[in-house]
């Protein structure tokens, strides 16, 4: 029993280590052509749709604007293959789930955000690592 417990601890540590080891995030497009690092934003609201597609996975969420009106936003993530190798799956984000997203706004002013972190209502972070690496970041 004790041995099993140790094994589980070891496995957890290893998985965590793997998760934080240097996995490359590759931008398909040029991040800087589309997003502005100097325009950070935080959005909170329920997920309305998830597209598990290449070159970037993306989801949509409803967010209340300053006037209380519900606005649908598109949130861009890394490629599904990148997210999968980081240990995420499309089941980690459920429609209707309340999430908080930090990221960079699109330069063109549209309701589009490139996610840096996605935090679920229970505090768990999913899909960490955006498509904003431009291919140079490990």
């Amino acid at each position: 029993m004790k041995r099993n417990a140790l094994f589980i601890i070891a496995a957890t540590l290893a998985v965590l280590l793997c998760g934080i080891s240097s996995q490359t995030v590759f931008a398909h497009h040029s991040f800087a052509a589309q997003y502005d690092r100097n325009k950070p934003a935080t959005l909170t609201g329920p997920v309305t749709k998830l597209d598990w597609i290449n070159p970037h996975a993306r989801f949509f969420m409803d967010v209340k604007d300053a006037g209380g009106k519900i606005v649908n936003w598109e949130v861009e993530l890394a490629a599904p293959a990148m997210l999968i190798r980081r240990g995420w799956s499309r089941a980690d984000l459920k429609i209707g789930e309340n999430v908080t997203v930090n990221g960079s706004l699109a330069k063109d002013g549209s309701n589009l955000l490139n996610a840096a972190t996605v935090t679920l209502s229970d505090g768990k972070k999913v899909f960490a690592g955006s498509s904003g690496g431009d291919g140079t970041n490990p």
């Binding site: 496995a11 998985v15 040029s30 690496g133 490990p138």
Partner: protein, 284 residues
């Protein structure tokens, strides 16, 4: 405690060797992996060989990244530090962003080519074909972070690149390159021959508008590449790429690409869906 350490070591190694924790294909053991006395994969063991005695380059390979730059910073940020100096006598390591990152004086660009690179960088690389779901060139495929699968058969080596689902054919059946003005192709025309344990691949017939990296260092239809593939041990693939393109560069130059084997895993489908081109072009 010993059990704990053994278990930890085993799982840590598996985790590091096989990053596909939740890949679509469940983990499945790669056959023929040399093992150490402890039963663990010995990646420093000998490279496999084909029936004719040549090294077998087959396997799924991951590009070894240069040391960490800055995570989560875009093109506007300071460029990542250059990779460490390679051992004496080896070519500088190419990066996905800048194939010439290891050249102190930069690549020997012709003046017009230097202008092209300047413009492409000023445009945030928005016209990089990859940004529009078009193919990457062979060099971008070599340095890209997504894995590639080499399948070596008698007379032909195939490389399936996960990124943008690239497929390359290298003929090793003795044929020669097309001699008369071949139609330009994204991947060109490749033939390979063995010199000892090194596979020498010569490629011509590129399009005139190639991008070797994110920065947009060019490759033209006058270009020829020579790639030298070596598998010095089971876990390592070294590729030295010489670009000889007198139209774009004042002299030939050579870079190194290092790759490591990935065990017990598979490629993941990557079909680029350019649903909305303006989305990818971005900035107004």
């Amino acid at each position: 405690m010993k059990t704990f350490l053994n278990a930890f070591g085993l799982i840590l190694m598996l985790a590091l060797l096989s990053p596909s924790l939740s890949a679509q294909w469940p983990s499945y053991p790669t056959p023929g992996v040399p093992k150490g006395p402890d039963g663990m994969p010995n990646l420093a063991g000998p490279a496999p060989r084909t029936a004719d005695g040549k090294p077998d380059l087959s396997g799924i390979w991951s590009n070894i990244r240069p040391p960490a730059g800055q995570r989560g910073q875009g093109a506007a940020a300071t460029p990542p530090p250059p990779p460490p100096p390679p051992p004496p006598g080896t070519p500088p390591v190419a990066t996905f962003r800048d194939v010439g990152a290891g050249f102190k004086e930069g690549l020997p660009l012709q003046p017009w080519a230097a202008e092209v690179v300047k413009k492409r960088m000023a445009d945030n690389s928005k016209d990089n074909p990859d940004a529009h779901c078009l193919p990457m060139g062979n060099m971008q495929f070599h340095t890209h972070g997504q894995p590639r699968k080499v399948i070596q058969t008698p007379g032909m080596i195939y490389i399936i690149y996960e990124a943008n689902s690239g497929l390359r054919q290298i003929f090793t059946d003795g044929r020669t390159l097309p001699s008369k003005d071949p139609d330009p192709w994204w991947y060109g025309y490749s033939v390979g021959k063995w010199e000892g344990d090194t596979l020498i691949v010569e490629t011509i017939g590129f399009r005139d508008d190639g991008w070797l990296d994110i920065n947009g260092n060019p490759l033209t239809s006058a270009g020829k590449t020579i790639e030298r593939f070596r598998r010095p041990n089971y876990g390592t693939l070294e590729i030295d790429v010489t670009v000889d393109d007198p139209k774009a560069y004042t002299r030939p130059w050579t870079v190194r690409v290092n790759q490591r084997i990935m065990l017990d895993t598979e490629l993941i489908e990557f079909i680029c869906e350019d649903r909305d081109a303006t989305h990818y072009v971005g900035a107004k």
